[in-house]
């Protein structure tokens, strides 16, 4: 009995440390999950006189992707988004975050434009409302305008196939 106690304590510690080591501290759980997406109205990237608002997307399941031409990881993620847009499964709205308009437009010309529309958030205020702290980030927003998922960092093909697309499909059915 007395010999097994240290062993039990050790086993408990191993479990705790193991879980701690497997967690990624750079992925902070968003408090916005299952909450209404923060309201915004922004000038469109390609046409500053027109606006894009989250209420424009009511009734649709949509992806909200935060990107910038200065963001290296966005470049890595981009072909995946272009491919996804081509498949016409779910509309992708872009949030062009703290970027220069001309540089952003050139970036899309060079790499392809997967976005139905991009909002131009030059000061990053909308980004702050969405708790953006590392670009790219992607939100899945349902028909009622609730955030259901947040991807921090680039979307991997794995995450897209196993997490995001099944969720989108499920949300589209409701």
């Amino acid at each position: 009995m007395t010999r097994t106690i240290p062993l039990v304590v050790f086993a408990v510690l191993v479990v705790f440390f193991g879980v701690g080591l497997l967690l990624d501290p750079s992925k902070v759980p968003s408090p916005l999950i299952d909450k209404p997406a923060p309201a915004f109205t922004l000038p469109q990237l390609h046409d500053a006189s027109a606006t894009i608002s989250n209420s424009d997307m009511r009734g649709k399941v949509w992806l909200f992707n935060v990107w910038a031409s200065w963001c290296v990881a966005c470049r890595q993620e981009h072909p995946l988004l272009v491919d996804l847009a081509r498949r016409n499964i779910v509309p992708i709205v872009g949030l062009n975050y703290k970027d220069e308009r001309a540089a952003a437009i050139r970036w899309l010309q060079d790499l392809g434009d997967p976005y139905t529309v991009s909002g131009h958030d030059i000061e990053g205020r909308v980004g702050m409302d969405y708790g953006v702290y590392g670009v790219p980030e992607t939100y899945v927003i349902d028909k009622q305008g609730f955030i259901r998922y947040k991807q921090i960092g680039p979307i991997s093909p794995d995450v897209l196939k196993n997490d995001i697309l099944p969720l989108v499909e499920r949300l589209q059915k409701t």
């Binding site: 408090p31 702050m128 702290y133």
Partner: protein, 178 residues
């Protein structure tokens, strides 16, 4: 001074005069830059409102920079921290309280932005854990001490054993005396 260098240099004349020219330009630029700084007063935002700056300094030490997680919002030079500081300052200038500023940030970034997590269901173990561990340690200590005391009291020696112990003690004393 420049002229003396030039005239003494002899064969190095061309090089020296060019060096002197460059030195002059650099010095002139330095003066220009520092002079402009003095006139422009670039540090003004910091002393605009000492009360707000004091609140900023205190509060931003309590907040974690999510990009550079070891650092506070006050200590970080990342764009994220700058944005948060700008937002905090704007809110304070608009008369919002510290609690409102913290609430605004927690709504967006979660409790993780606080270095001191609030006491609630999910963090109860975090707050009480050390005390629970201390209580367990004290309990184990008390129990094992009592058990040891009981075991020591329970030992009874037969006369033979007593005799042997005495002779051993005597032997030791003898050795000490010699």
């Amino acid at each position: 001074m420049n002229r003396s260098v030039v005239s003494d240099a002899g064969s190095g004349l061309v090089f020296s005069s060019r060096a002197a020219l460059w030195m002059g330009i650099v010095l002139g630029l330095c003066l220009l830059v520092t002079g402009r700084h003095g006139l422009a007063g670039e540090a003004e935002p910091l002393i605009a409102d000492p009360v707000i700056e004091a609140r900023m300094a205190a509060l931003s030490e309590e907040l974690r920079c999510l990009v550079c997680q070891g650092q506070s919002i006050a200590g970080s030079d990342s764009d994220f921290a700058k944005d948060v500081r700008r937002e905090m300052r704007t809110m304070m200038e608009n008369g919002r309280s510290d609690a409102e500023v913290v609430e605004f940030l927690v709504q967006r970034y979660g409790d993780f932005i606080l270095f001191r997590p609030p006491v609630k269901g999910a963090t109860l173990l975090l707050w009480l854990g050390p005390f629970i561990l201390l209580a367990i340690a004290v309990a184990v200590l008390v129990i094992s001490l009592r058990r040891r005391g009981r075991r020591a009291a329970a030992v009874t020696l037969s006369s033979e054993e007593l005799h042997r112990a005495e002779s051993l003690l005597k032997e030791k004393d003898d050795r000490k005396d010699s």
